[in-house]
């Protein structure tokens, strides 16, 4: 099975989506990156056979701009599974990623015989993971328009705080379970209803923590706390 992990964050580095995909990637230890020349990665999945017949490669893509290049489009079209991870922007899909999805729709729709499954993980800064529902619904609608098979959507609340916690920490229990489920669905080509997870701390603490964070960051930038409330 060829899997594409697609980071839909516009951030070049340090995105929560990258951390989430890294966490998911670790759940497929036997799968290797396909070599740049497209040849077999010589991983151990199919024993001594290095012909590439097992086709269990996982490649990672980063859509940080509103266009996808032709080589990436061709590679994505050869995949069995696409996994998107992106941040929630104003209740929906970030605009640059929306442009990429539209481009993919145009490229993939004519390949109607291709059975390709799609999974998505959306994270937001709000506490409630459920606030990612509309973005996941839009991904599901995109699948229908592009004639792909929708698998599963995961909405993560307090995304930044959850992804940054070490994997074995008790506060990451819900996140880890949701990622295990996602990996299981992907491996078995299964479909499931959207799942949503909230941070494992009370909402009031998360809210206070967020306010403290903004105050620290604005001071680092040489501004005053009151500048957070500036009006133009």
């Amino acid at each position: 099975m060829k899997i594409a992990l697609i980071n839909g964050s516009p951030k070049a580095n340090g995105s929560v989506s990258a951390l989430i995909l890294q966490s998911l990637r670790e759940r497929f230890p036997d799968h290797q990156e396909q070599r740049d020349d497209g040849a077999c990665c010589t991983c151990s999945t199919c024993g001594s056979d290095t012909s590439g017949a097992c086709g269990t490669c996982i490649n990672t893509y980063h859509f940080s701009k509103p266009q996808i290049n032709q080589q990436d489009l061709a590679e994505l079209a050869a995949c069995d599974t696409l996994v998107f991870a992106f941040p929630l922007y104003v209740d929906g899909i970030p605009s640059h990623l929306l442009s990429c999805l539209s481009q993919m729709e145009g490229y993939l729709k004519p390949l109607a015989s291709k059975e390709m499954r799609v999974y998505a993980i959306v994270n937001c800064g709000f506490y409630e993971g459920r606030q990612n529902q509309h973005a996941l619904d839009m991904m599901q609608n995109w699948c229908a328009k592009t004639r792909l098979i929708w698998g599963h959507g995961l909405g993560i609340g307090g995304g930044g705080s959850q992804a940054a916690i070490p994997e074995t920490h008790p506060l990451k229990k819900g996140f880890s379970a949701a990622m295990n489920n996602m990996a299981n669905y992907i491996s078995n080509g299964r479909a499931a209803d959207h799942a949503f997870i909230d941070p494992a701390i009370p909402r009031i603490l998360y809210k206070i923590g967020g306010a403290m964070g903004w105050r620290q960051q604005i001071k680092v930038n040489g501004l005053k706390v009151r500048d957070l409330s500036l009006r133009k």
Binding site: S9, P10, K11, S15, K65, P66, P87, Y89, V90, D91, G92, I93, P94, S95, H96, L98, S99, L101, S102, F126, Y127, E128, Q131, Q133, H134, D137, M138, M139, Q140, N141, W142, A144, K145, R203, K207, G210, A211, W214, Q217, I218, N221, L223, D227, L228, S229, L230, R231, K232
Partner: protein, 170 residues
């Protein structure tokens, strides 16, 4: 002050939108082909508060939203139950309209208001083959947007052909 955000080409806009769309009482935001996408830096909250750090023609959209105290009308092609890339880009680039701090509104976490203005929200989605699922998503999306902007949904409509808009927003 009214605000109109649309993704129509210039010739379409001229032909279909009423003359009142470009009076002193209405600000129109349309696609001049130069908009850059939000890069998720939060600079509009913590580096240049209330303004986007990207200084293209769309760098002060939060301030523009703050001038709207009547109705915000959005005309957008429907993409998967949401806005078109241009209209979504305008929304993404306008988050300086709200304050980074959180409040609990309608039992959910949202952003605190930065400004005191209030507007009603009207959205017209157009497209020849908008599915029922997309319509359901779009209706929920606009309500979620209204919760976040702390505004009121006046109307959400769906039209098959953009030429129908001429009659609807007279």
């Amino acid at each position: 002050m009214k605000l109109l955000i649309h993704d129509l080409e210039e010739s379409q806009a001229k032909a279909l939108l009423p003359a009142s769309a470009s009076t002193d009482n209405t600000i129109v935001i349309s696609d001049d082909g130069t908009i850059r996408n939000c890069v998720g830096c939060f600079g509009c909250w913590i580096k240049t508060p209330a303004a986007c750090v990207i200084r293209d023609n769309y760098g002060d959209l939060g301030e523009t939203l703050a001038k709207c105290d009547d109705e915000l009308v959005i005309i957008s092609e429907c993409f998967y139950g949401g806005f078109s890339p241009f209209v979504k880009n305008v929304m993404d680039r306008a988050i300086s309209y709200v304050h980074p701090d959180f409040v609990i509104r309608n039992k959910e976490m949202h952003h605190k208001r930065r400004y005191r203005n209030h507007f009603d929200l009207t959205v017209w989605f157009y497209g020849a083959d908008i599915s029922e699922n997309e319509k359901a998503t779009a209706l929920e999306l606009v309500q979620a947007n209204a919760d976040n902007f702390d505004c009121t949904v006046r109307k959400v409509g769906f039209i098959k052909d953009i030429s129908e808009i001429e009659e609807l927003i007279k």
